[in-house]
């Protein structure tokens, strides 16, 4: 038998599975793919058919419903935000002017005193209303307003006059009769004028509420020139133009204090105060009697 014939015969035997070669090779089939490949491929296969018919039956209900539920939740949140948006966007327009003075570093002392005075006046008015027969909802409303009105005062931070003590004394005048406590008066004499001159009836109710509403939004913001600018512009406007025609503005109170300093012979201090004042309110007219301090 030739070599080629022998090969043919062996090949035929191999094709029939009778060759020892196949048997030898069959004993070498121990090599398998790594387990990580198994996991990756099976996971891909299951993902491709979305878990498959059998897979879907085996899956818990929450997984089958997770997609539609999450879509529905997203829709609900979007609708709620959409409904809330007009209210949120309207709010700053009302509150910004009132809250801005609190952020203005130079104004903060006067503004705080004025706000405290108004709050005190409001409280007096509230007390009066409590004595008189009032609608049932009024006390609650008042307490909310007052609660809100008190919030900005302690939060206001003034780099020029860091006076936590003063703030406290300004808040204290919750006492019914005098709008400002003696302590506060001593700390800030000029505060007595606006507080005393502003009876509860004259204090616009709108003032306290917007201030307090804007407070949370402004709380985290540092006192900045940018935010003080519109406030200064508003404050620099003639008092008649604003709704505070009957109430002396913080500028007047400040000027009054400068006058008092000058009268007390503290000319240097008065000059310093005036310089700070003009820096803060460059457009506000300085009274003639104080122009000599410049």
């Amino acid at each position: 038998m030739s070599h080629e014939q022998e090969q043919d015969r062996e090949f035929e035997a191999y094709l029939k599975g009778e060759s020892p070669l196949s048997q030898t090779y069959a004993g070498m089939r121990g090599q398998e793919p790594p387990a990580r490949l198994d996991h990756a491929i099976l996971a891909e296969a299951h993902r491709a058919v979305g878990g498959g018919a059998a897979g879907a039956r085996g899956r818990p209900a929450w997984r089958r419903w997770s997609l539609p539920l999450s879509l529905a939740a997203t829709l609900v949140v979007a609708v709620l935000v959409g409904l809330e948006l007009p209210y949120v966007s309207r709010e700053p327009a009302v509150t910004q002017p009132a809250s801005a003075p609190e952020e203005a570093p130079g104004v903060s002392v006067a503004a705080k005193r004025e706000a405290a005075g108004r709050v005190a006046a409001d409280k007096v008015a509230a007390d009066k209303r409590k004595v008189a027969p009032a609608p049932q909802a009024a006390p609650a409303a008042e307490s909310v307003e007052l609660d809100q009105a008190f919030r900005p005062a302690p939060r206001a931070r003034s780099p020029e006059a860091p006076a936590p003590g003063r703030e406290k004394s300004a808040v204290i005048p919750a006492a019914p009769a005098p709008a400002v406590s003696p302590g506060a008066e001593e700390a800030l004499p000029m505060n007595t004028a606006p507080a005393a001159a502003a009876p509860a009836a004259n204090t616009p109710r709108l003032e306290a509420t917007p201030e307090t509403r804007s407070a949370p939004a402004d709380r985290s913001m540092p006192p900045a020139q940018e935010s003080a600018a519109p406030a200064a512009a508003m404050l620099a406007a003639p008092p008649q133009a604003s709704g505070l025609a009957q109430t002396p503005g913080p500028q007047q109170a400040w000027l009054q204090r400068i006058r008092q300093l000058e009268q007390a012979g503290k000319r240097d201090e008065a000059k310093k105060e005036l310089a700070t004042f003009t820096k803060r309110y460059p457009d506000y007219p300085v009274p003639k009697e104080l122009q000599g301090l410049r």
Binding site: Q7, E10, F11, Y14, L15, S19, P20, L21, S22, T24, Y25, A26, G27, M28, R29, G30, Q31, E32, P33, P34, L37, D38, A40, I41, L42, E44, A45, H46, A48, V49, G50, G51, G52, A53, A54, G55
Partner: protein, 189 residues
């Protein structure tokens, strides 16, 4: 029971959304396909990459599967094409030699036989080592034909279909491969 179904039925079931059918198919063919790729490419890292590619390809092309073709032919046709593509893109890999540290030792390829005698085990290991060397030494087309026959159990016609050649060419390659391997093992028997 899915285990009793033929490959083609399982593939059709998977195509129709039965993910568990794929599990059975994978279990049946993962070892053969892996060894085919490891011994064809002679590079375990590349073989693993191709192995995952082949199954991914199969998963993606499940909608096109028709039971008229044998499943193993379909699977190894994908594997052959992926290996060719890869070697065309990185021809240097065709020449890469086995890294002895990266490759499994010959004894890892041997199916454990708990009842086997130590002498017989040593003999089998020596045979396996030689056979692997012989297979690695075959020209790639012959090596592929032999692996398709041994690992996938394909007939000559199916080897021809999987590799895109005529049945005569497939037969010739396999014949040469078997003859060389037998010659190489003769001294050990």
């Amino acid at each position: 029971m899915r285990e009793d179904l033929a490959d083609e039925q399982l593939m059709e079931a998977y195509r129709d959304g039965d993910a568990r059918a794929f599990d059975v198919l994978y279990r049946r063919h993962k070892g053969g396909l892996y060894r085919y790729l490891v011994r064809l490419c002679k590079h375990p890292g590349v073989a693993e990459e191709l192995f995952q590619d082949v199954w991914s390809n199969l998963i993606r092309s499940r909608e096109r599967y028709q039971a008229s073709a044998k499943f193993a032919t379909f699977l190894y046709q994908i594997a052959h094409n992926r290996a060719i593509d890869h070697l065309r893109r990185k021809p240097e890999l065709a020449l890469v030699q086995d890294d002895p540290e990266d490759d499994d030792p010959p004894e890892a390829a041997i199916v454990a036989d708990p009842a086997g005698q130590p002498e017989a085990m040593v003999e089998r290991m020596r045979l396996a080592e030689t056979l692997i060397e012989q297979i690695d030494g075959l020209p790639a087309p012959q090596r592929e034909a032999f692996l398709l026959r041994e690992e996938a159990g394909l007939s000559l016609e199916e080897i021809a279909a999987a590799t895109g050649v005529s049945a005569e060419t497939a037969k010739s390659r396999l014949r040469y491969a078997v003859a060389k391997l037998r010659d190489g093992l003769k001294g050990l028997r």
